[in-house]
Subunit: 135 residues, 3 copies
């Protein structure tokens, strides 16, 4: 059984939080790991990954608006020619990976928790790298 | 020996950073793992987990005040009916887990480091999921 | 073969993002791990670790400026006598560790990704703790 895998994601907006719990769960099933940790890592520097509420879509709306409030697209000190330093900072604030416990072959997530890919300078083709670590 | 365990935490304020290093160390002793990583994961979306100074309680005070300065409780773009989008953003900024090295059966922490549970919409009953991963 | 190691870092500015990908890759070679995860942990509470672009140095410039914009050095609510609560908050926003996949004995990083140590109250001597976890 494999214990690592790349998966691709096509984002369709400049900014979005895309639920990926199902894709991660599917890869876990392929891996066949019973107990341990699932590590989900983004291979890019203008996106991130986080865990937050997957029930009310207004939470995602508010998170994206609040991240823009916190991290404006341009500020006067910016030098990076691509003009997307805001996306780089959001990437660092969210982080490049999450690690989720696995028990009895299932992701251990709270009732309201989902895994989200954070796109901050899309739309783009993105790649995630998933690793299973048995306990 | 078990290698994962849920522990409960009763928070008693709307916002707090609660030191949990001792509880984590006690679970590590139960696990009996000698070398590896200890993963501490929160099962909720309005709280988080972080590592910071456990010596001067004024650091915790300043962190909570500064997080409120950074993430006001309401902003005009908020839509989520529960009204706690600030807590969801703080959850994402801190992250849902920390991973701490283990050497010779002990948590590897710097002299001033402690593990803190971040409550951002309490008081509530909260659950953490701990996993030991041998190296 | 060892599977954990401390490495030291001398920072030379009050704030900096220092590329450490090469040091981490060298330790991975010492460890000789083929597949798994590399965990990089800071033993301090006024610095952090992150993954971001290692191509254009202007990205690092913009990240440091934007972090200062987000987290001013002093705000009126600060109580901590050392006066470095801003550094403590940046530590919590970046996080105390990153975890990077390893495949065929190499760090799995995207084309533009590098690992950065974030100094927020230097210059100081700093210590990192690296752990290899096979998959």
């Amino acid at each position: 059984m494999p214990d690592s895998k790349k998966i691709s994601l096509k984002t369709d907006a400049h900014e979005s939080l895309i639920p990926i719990t199902h894709q991660v769960a599917d890869v876990l099933t392929e891996f066949g790991m019973v107990n341990g940790l699932m590590h989900i890592f983004v291979l890019h520097t203008t996106c991130g990954i986080t865990i937050n509420e997957n029930a009310d879509p207004d939470v995602v709306h508010d998170l994206l608006e609040r991240l823009n409030h916190l991290v404006p697209w341009r500020i006067s000190s910016d030098r990076h020619m691509e003009g997307n330093s805001a996306a780089h900072l959001k990437s660092t604030l969210l982080g490049s990976s999450v690690t989720v416990p696995v028990s009895n072959g299932q992701l251990v997530l709270g009732r309201w928790q989902g895994i989200f890919f954070g796109e901050f300078d899309g739309p783009r083709q993105r790649t995630l790298y998933l690793t299973a670590i048995p306990s």
